[in-house]
Symmetry: C2
Subunit: 128 residues, 2 copies
């Protein structure tokens, strides 16, 4: 068992300049025992946006806070809290923050697909 709160994620596992106005926190990763998929938290500050991404694995996204816009292929979708989104393999996608408040969502991906810059802090401990 591994349990962590977003607010407890240590500074080492925040990539603060992932993209313009975007931070990422790694919540559940393979190194904690996750055998199949990983959970990350993204937050976009005012004016923040992600790059246009396209890859051969899916995203499962759940919106926690704020408002956003998502462009998938050539279509736009407004996003709000409690939206659950499946972005399928090879669908191009990009996220934008909208309004005044930070736009935050969790994003789950298959293990091993997008961690090139991340190192798990050595002081991480499991509970349970």
């Amino acid at each position: 068992m591994h349990k962590i709160n977003i607010d407890e994620v240590p500074e080492e596992s925040i990539n603060r300049v992932y993209m313009r106005g975007v931070s990422i926190k790694y919540l559940i990763v393979e190194e904690f025992g996750a055998p199949n998929f990983e959970m990350r938290y993204f937050e976009l500050q005012k004016g923040g946006k992600t790059s246009i991404d396209q890859h051969n694995y899916e995203h499962e996204v759940f919106v926690l806070r704020g408002k956003g816009k998502m462009v998938v292929k050539d279509k736009e979708f407004l996003l709000r809290p409690n939206d659950a989104i499946l972005i399928e393999s090879n669908e191009s996608h990009q996220f934008y923050q909208i309004g005044e408040d930070p736009f935050g969502f969790i994003c789950i991906v298959p293990n091993g697909v997008s961690r090139s810059k991340y190192k798990v802090p050595l002081n991480y401990k499991k509970e349970g």
Copy 2:
């Protein structure tokens, strides 16, 4: 792409009497195109608890609202919003609602492991 808000999940995909005081909504499932893992939303009303479960696949849980208690093997853990939890394969686990408000969390599992009573509504449509 598939997008749905928790509040839009049609009645057909709510299992209202899954366990005592527990409802489940299927947010992202294999039939919508998810190739690897599925996302469900659980809500426990006042006094609600799940059964003691133990199985050969993991859960990844993210707490959205309310307060809860989780028993993993023989240890108790209090849960609050923004907690991310990995329950590993073969770890026994049980969830309880605590306090006055509903306790809600999303739970992600590998495809095909726990859907025996669920049928996807025929009127589900993809966006995008």
